[in-house]
């Protein structure tokens, strides 16, 4: 009986999902409701979770609740705490979901809503959720080891060292691109600048409250923090309109970049309790609250999708980023479909909270599905906007010019009719002077969110408030990521420096500390600054570099997963990781090599460098550069980008070779050769 009702239920889910896809793909009417997109996604998530994750849990990995997890073995009530699985799910979700799933889908919306949706859904089920799940599993079976340690254990020291370098490089690119998103959102926006700046004293105040006044009263401090944030948000408009304060908070892109660089260095050196921890709490609560509100908002408002199913830009001529659907869609949408960076979280704090092995299905696989849902909503928010507005916000100034009239003219020429009045009106509605060329996801998402939340709550009058709320929401966790990422980068650099001169590796050694922090901040600061002053847009270059790196890391994590399966003598299931590995290798190697060697200067780094180099040699200045010095900078940066991209390509190829060697050896052995904690060991160490 139960079996029958379960069958009926899942058939119903499948039918609803199929109907939603039908509406999305075949609807002939003027426009399709966004509700169909979200419903189709939810149906896919539920079915994938019920069937595929169960198959992986029971057949592929053989989860076994009788094996004690690290949380149980080392339970100390502090770092290792066996925790309710829904709580771990929430914690894991909050740790993996940041700005990534918001930015990528918004950029990819230039190709229409269908390609992005299909890749997000297929990618998460086949690759992303599988990667997160398997890395979490491997880490739990290895006493909570980190990704780097596991690669060293299973693939050898050379692979471990390569992984360390690769992760550091990706971290630097991520920090630069995230900071760039904030710069693009805050340039010449006094309201936004004031609110984001206010988060710093608010976090410090919360930190002091929890440390000195009322130790451990996180709830009280968070409520105070949220109230102060809302006040900053509301009075941000007053500040922006003020004759003295307004200009003070109206900053140029380079000024904000410098502020972020200094902030990153200082924040990462402060004790965790003073700034990082309080802001992390705030951003977690705000993140979960906003995601839930957005989902409810989409269902309440049911906005129509204004973006076409596919646009002419699938041919690679798009203004937001250049390059054809294959392979560039698959590196533009990284987080939300598959994100290598998650493998660091899945092998970080999460394995230390898992109570039973069977819980990993919900946390690892389910957590990634939840992040994918965020990506789907970001795509939805971008696609409910008038496409003319979308392209005004996301195209670089070099293409659409710097005035509303120019932008409207160029964009209407692409077939997305828009008037200059609508562009200026939209800017006025959200309380900004201009919306042009604010690429990077945050502002577009914010306008979309303002539209959805504004229709649900408060109408037009509150649109400006919701816009700045969305900017605040995204900037808050980007700042947390910059702070935490700079810290993590510092430890990695110290790890590497320690091999050169041992004392530098000691994290308590102040000069080593400062040196590593400065190196880390200078590295991402360089890429950030170049992105800000790049007249070609910056985001489109850096985001693709990040996409290549992040997907390469996912490939490396899945290669590790495959090795683990083979060493467990479960090679008949190795296709579960081999299929996504294969796809990631094909897309990212193609994208990586095209980014380096493509003859079109819009796509290939070397081609652009050569084009500018040839012109510079003849003394000609090519637009959008304004001087020979700027030309030289473009040339150098493109060689640098090509080198970083080449590093990612070489790393992943080397990792594949090392893994293949290990797998071949393991195939020849009669018994499992994994390095796991044996099932019987339960001795607590505390």
């Amino acid at each position: 009986m139960q079996r029958l009702s379960s069958m009926i239920l899942w058939c119903a889910v499948a039918v609803v999902g199929a109907a939603a896809f039908g509406a999305l793909a075949l609807g002939r009417g003027e426009s399709v409701s966004a509700v169909w997109l979200v419903t189709a996604a939810l149906a896919v998530y539920f079915i994938a979770y019920r069937f595929y994750s169960r198959f992986i849990a029971t057949r592929v990995l053989g989860l076994d609740d009788s094996r004690p997890t690290p949380a149980v073995r080392h339970n100390d009530g502090l770092d290792y705490v066996p925790t309710n699985r829904w709580v771990v799910f929430g914690h894991h979700f909050a740790a993996i979901a940041g700005a990534g799933p918001l930015v990528g889908p918004v950029l990819a919306a230039q190709m229409g809503y269908l390609p992005g949706t299909l890749w997000i859904l297929a990618g998460v089920v086949v690759a992303g959720a599988v990667q997160d799940f398997i890395v979490l599993f491997a880490s739990v079976r290895r006493d909570g080891s980190s990704l780097g340690q596991m690669i060293r254990m299973e693939l050898g020291p050379l692979a471990g060292a390569l992984a360390l370098v690769g992760v550091l490089a990706i971290m630097i690119i991520i920090l630069a691109v995230l900071a760039l998103v904030v710069v693009k959102a805050l340039t010449a926006s006094p309201w936004g600048c004031f609110t984001i700046a206010a988060t710093i004293p608010i976090a410090l105040l919360m930190g002091l409250y929890m440390r000195v006044l009322r130790p451990g009263r996180i709830g009280e401090a968070s409520i105070i923090g949220v109230v102060l944030l809302l006040l900053a948000l509301v009075y941000g408009r007053t500040v922006a309109d003020d004759a003295v304060l307004g200009p003070l908070f109206t900053l140029s892109g380079p000024a904000i970049a410098w502020a972020l660089i200094i902030y990153g260095g200082v924040a990462a050196s402060l004790p965790v309790w003073l700034m990082l921890a309080p802001r992390d709490y705030l951003s977690t609560f705000l993140k979960i609250g906003t995601v839930v509100a957005l989902a409810i908002g989409i269902y309440l408002v049911a906005p129509p999708l204004a973006m076409p199913r596919t646009t002419l830009f699938i041919d690679g001529s798009g203004p937001v980023f250049s390059g054809k659907l294959f392979p560039f869609l698959f590196i533009t949408i990284a987080c939300g479909a598959v994100s290598g960076f998650h493998s660091l979280i899945s092998s970080g704090t999460t394995p230390k909270m898992i109570e039973k092995e069977s819980h990993m299905r919900l946390v690892g696989f389910g957590g990634m599905l939840a992040e994918s849902f965020v990506a789907t909503m970001a795509l939805t928010a971008a696609c409910v906007l008038d496409p003319g507005i979308y392209f005004s916000m996301n195209s670089p100034a070099a293409i659409i010019g710097t005035t509303a009239a120019d932008a409207a003219h160029v964009i209407s020429g692409w077939g997305f009719t828009i008037t200059p009045e609508l562009i200026t009106q939209t800017a006025a509605d959200i309380g900004e002077k201009s919306i042009l060329s604010r690429a990077g996801g945050a502002p577009t998402l914010a306008v979309g969110m303002a539209k959805i939340l504004g229709s649900a709550l408060g109408g037009k009058a509150l649109e400006a408030f919701w816009y700045h709320f969305a900017i605040l929401f995204e900037a808050l966790f980007i700042l947390t990521a910059v702070d935490a990422g700079t810290r993590a980068g510092r430890f990695m650099i110290q790890d590497i420096l320690g091999h050169l001169w041992r004392p530098l590796g000691n994290t308590a050694f102040l000069p080593g500390n400062v040196l590593a922090t400065v190196l880390c901040v200078s590295a991402w600061g360089y890429f950030l600054y170049q992105g800000v002053v790049d007249p070609l847009g910056g985001i489109n270059t850096l985001w693709q570099l990040f996409g290549v790196g992040n997907q390469m890391l996912a490939g490396i994590a899945l290669v590790l997963g495959t090795t683990v399966l083979v060493k467990m003598k479960r090679e008949r299931y190795a296709w579960v990781t081999l299929v996504p590995t294969g796809w990631l290798l094909v897309t990212t190697l193609t994208a990586g090599l095209e980014k380096i060697f493509h003859p079109d200067p819009k796509i290939g780094f070397l081609a652009l460098a050569h084009k500018f180099g040839a012109a510079a040699a003849e003394g000609r200045v090519l637009a959008p550069a304004k001087s020979i010095a700027e030309m030289q900078r473009v040339i150098f940066n493109n060689y640098l980008d090509a080198a970083v991209c080449g590093l990612f390509v070489l790393l992943v190829v080397a990792m594949c070779v090392l893994a293949a060697r290990t797998c071949l050896r393991a195939l020849g052995e009669a018994r499992p050769s994994v390095v796991e904690i044996p099932p019987g060991v339960s001795g607590a160490t505390t």
């Binding site: 740790a95 940041g98 451990g216 004790p271 709490y281 960076f341 979280i345 935490a484």
Partner: protein
Amino acid sequence: MSARGPGSCAVGTPASDRGAPGAATLAASLLARVARVLRQVAGAPDYAAYLEHMDAHHPGAAVLTEPEFHRRAMDRLDGSSRPRCC
């Protein structure tokens, strides 16, 4: 450090354990539970969990007071990295 006997109650004991469950105590215990879930989701140190652990595994041992516990839990994070995702 404050010494305490096995099984004794300390700060953080749910209010519902102390008397007959009235509406107010029920609401208070519900609130405490919600607060605990939020705290754990945010990855904040959980004093109640620490006390439970000490009760279960080290009965009779001296425990940290709540301010000491929070101070120590936070200071440990300075030497470790908890990357947040992109």
